[in-house]
Symmetry: C2
Subunit: 186 residues, 2 copies
Amino acid sequence: MIDDTAARAKVVEAADQLFYAHGVQAVGMDAVRTAAGVSLKRIYALFPSKDALVAAVLERRRAQWNAGIAARAADAATAREKILAVFDFLDGWFREPDFNGCAFINAYGELHDGNPDVTRTVREQKAAFQRYVADLVRDAGAPDPLAAQIAILAEGAQTTAAIAGTPEAAAQARAAAEVLLDAAMT
Amino acid sequence: MIDDTAARAKVVEAADQLFYAHGVQAVGMDAVRTAAGVSLKRIYALFPSKDALVAAVLERRRAQWNAGIAARAADAATAREKILAVFDFLDGWFREPDFNGCAFINAYGELHDGNPDVTRTVREQKAAFQRYVADLVRDAGAPDPLAAQIAILAEGAQTTAAIAGTPEAAAQARAAAEVLLDAAMT
DNA sequence: TACGATAGAGAACGATCGTTCTCATCGCAA
DNA sequence: TTGCGATGAGAACGATCGTTCTCTATCGTA
């Protein structure tokens, strides 16, 4: 047998992949068990319910998002470049073969009603991203309203790329962000 | 008894309201029947399956979206004002008490897998909107790439407003669109 | 080797859903 | 009035899902 930490990781990873590809409600716990190779009994010992597993999956997504953004920002020297690095991160993500839109938006649309934890988690994730952008905008010396505009571009790029099934929305949003930055800094 | 046209309208309207508020999979056909006041037998005589009812609901949403955009555009004199009228339409929509994001995005996130009709319908709706914006951008004498940027702002405003539960994303996106328009026309 | 605790495989359970079917009721033609 | 076709209300059916339970095999230890 493997220890609890490893079993948890395998279950969350398998559930993430399945939920993200097919939607939460379309995936049964049996499918998670098969994909993770962990018995149902063990899964329910690690997570009290499917909702708790969904929460763990969203937490995993949150960590991945933050790490991906931070990695791109680390290569950028200025606050302006760190802002644009967000769209470079999105560009790379949109090109991954299993990209299927923002997992938080998908989860919110599917589960917001009847699962208040999901609503709260998604709202907090988006608010945290807006704070991240707001800090960078302030560092860049640009006026505060620019932050919300940059965040809206990032959100719009995600849904546009997901539905179109093509990655060009990242570059288009990035170009728009550059124009907005230039206009704000004059 | 009421005639087929009226019964169809009542069923689609009730289903739209329920699906939009709670998600498609969370609403049973019994709930549609109760809300519409039309028997299950009649519903299945009008729509061969729940999927067909979902398709009819999306078609209704498409007509409402187009009518709402057209009504706002009718008040605008120039192509530039017609572009900005999109965000005025969004602002009014976001303030409706039952606003819950874009029904097409929600349906795509919930049903894209296992219901190809939904994927196609949503993709067509978004493509049609992009063509609408592209025509206005051309009429305004602005370069083509601006169209995709405007569309991304509109998409981002919808998801941002839905998740935050507040309408200010419309005004923020409109302000960004004005800056992009000004920069493109110089 | 014998034993007790444990874990996995999957059957079982209760609930729910989409869809179909039954049956009592009603309107209407002859 | 009588009989027939159609309709609505909702029971019924088969499938699926989240969750729990049973049974068997395995492992470490004395």
